[in-house]
Homo-oligomer: 267 residues x 2
DNA sequence: TAATGTGAACTCTTTCACAGCA
DNA sequence: TGCTGTGAAAGAGTTCACATTA
């Protein structure tokens, strides 16, 4: 998902797998909690449980960072916190701008976990002149006309997009042109960016749809009737066979039989 | 090489890879946009571009659903919209409760993409009595005392947790006990749930940390030098070696029988 | 003795490349 | 001819199981 850099072939001096990187924040959070309780050391088993992974995976993950544990004992909590923080780049300050101060943008601005861990909300930006100057979560909203200036002055390299989908790509383009190289996108749209720019997306609707898929499957597992799918749109003649094959599948039947026409949805 | 074990039988409808499931919503969104523009058919190449994936992956994904395309032509948009919707379980109605109506919960309640696609906000629930009865996004907030009753009456199987981290597990337990089997967790904490319950998490802080990791790496590629790590916490005696290595600003924690080149953290 | 660190096996995912069909 | 559908190869990620070591 992250925009790739060119694949480094042989000399993997720093080749921490992406899957491992994605778990480091989880370990860090668990370790921070232990640290606050003044726990001095922790075993891979305990830490893994706290982070919600299995211990073999955790040990493998840590092995990419180096040998930071002590056999027969475990890991030193403080030391690991530091090492992971450093690995994640959290020992430095990351100014962040949030673009689009609607309900979501405002909620993000006020989100506590934001300020912690080296992330600092450098600016809130919105296109609505009525918002300009209004403080949100204690930070005055600035107008998007000044976006480029703000990015440049604060040396911002991480941008959060919380605008409507329709303008997200345009905002993204401006952010990138102004020097932002990492984007967290909350708008339900695919962003295209040049090489070297990372995009991660957070999409409520997608998450729900994935849950619905599994939910449906659970429901379909119970013995019972196979509800024949109602009114499918006219299939292309060529797909007849495929359609029939698909019909062999179990339909979810939690409640009344479905029978929706193809859904139509706005972004 | 191949064991005698055969692969999936021709009749699928089951065994759709998780990675594929996670992309179906993306395809669906792109297809819906095409549908609104009354585009009748689309090639794998075009659709892949719109969804931000490559066409081989898209075709492989669709092959798990069945043969819904027409060689030499492409895919019928309406038909695919329907098939994917059905596969994802979006042809039925999914009542959802949101627990924790703070800034984020309120933003989620008002999120448009929520209501669309078969998801319906059945109830907003908050523990604060002062919130009870107050409408948020047009829906009156109900008190958490009534959580079980609400879940049961509306037949809710999907819950969204937007509470503070401290109470998320307790809320989760109550949701699950009341019959919820899919949870979308916005609280920055690991939830433990019994088998059969799906949890997906959305974590702003984690996403930012992942971006910071890559950002740091980009920065490290330039001549600019990151200052020597300030005061690392006292390392456990056993970790001396690792500490010294870290202090040297060299990264090669990984030792290797495989002969790792001495870590080239580009200066 | 207890717990790390890690090759090796295994599973999942992506990509390739082309046969097959409209 | 053009595009889908899919085996096969390649690559990533996970799990196993045990040698290693404090």
């Amino acid at each position: 998902m992250a925009t790739g850099r060119t694949h480094r072939p042989a000399t993997r001096s720093r080749g921490i797998p992406e899957a491992t990187v994605a778990r480091l924040p989880l370990y860090l959070r668990a370790l921070t909690a232990l640290s606050e309780r003044s726990v001095p050391t922790v075993s891979s088993e305990e830490l893994a449980a706290a982070a919600g992974v299995n211990s073999a995976k955790l040990r493998k993950d840590f092995s990419y960072l180096g040998s930071y544990g002590t056999r027969g004992v475990g890991y030193d909590v403080e030391y690991l916190v530091y090492q992971i923080s450093r690995e994640l780049g959290l020992t430095q300050d990351w100014p962040v701008v949030i673009v689009g101060i609607g309900n979501l943008g405002a909620a993000l601005a006020g989100y506590g976990g934001f300020a912690s861990r080296g992330f600092r909300v450098a600016a809130l930006i919105d296109a609505d002149p009525a918002m300009t100057g209004r403080p949100v979560a204690g930070i005055p909203v600035q107008h998007s006309d000044d976006l480029e200036k703000i990015i440049a002055e604060d040396g911002v390299s991480i941008g959060v997009i919380a605008t409507p989908a329709g303008v997200a790509q345009a905002v993204c383009d401006r952010l990138v042109a102004a020097g932002v190289t990492s984007i967290l996108n909350f708008a339900p749209t695919v962003l295209s960016v040049p090489d070297g720019v990372d995009v991660r997306k957070v999409d409520l609707s997608i998450e729900l749809q994935i849950l619905a898929f599994h939910e449906q499957r659970k429901a379909g597992e119970e013995p019972g009737e196979e509800t024949a799918p109602a009114a499918a749109p006219a299939a292309p003649p060529a797909a007849r066979t495929a359609t029939d094959r698909a019909r062999a599948g179990v339909e979810g039947g939690r409640k009344g039989p479905d029978g929706d026409a193809p859904a139509v949805m706005p972004a």
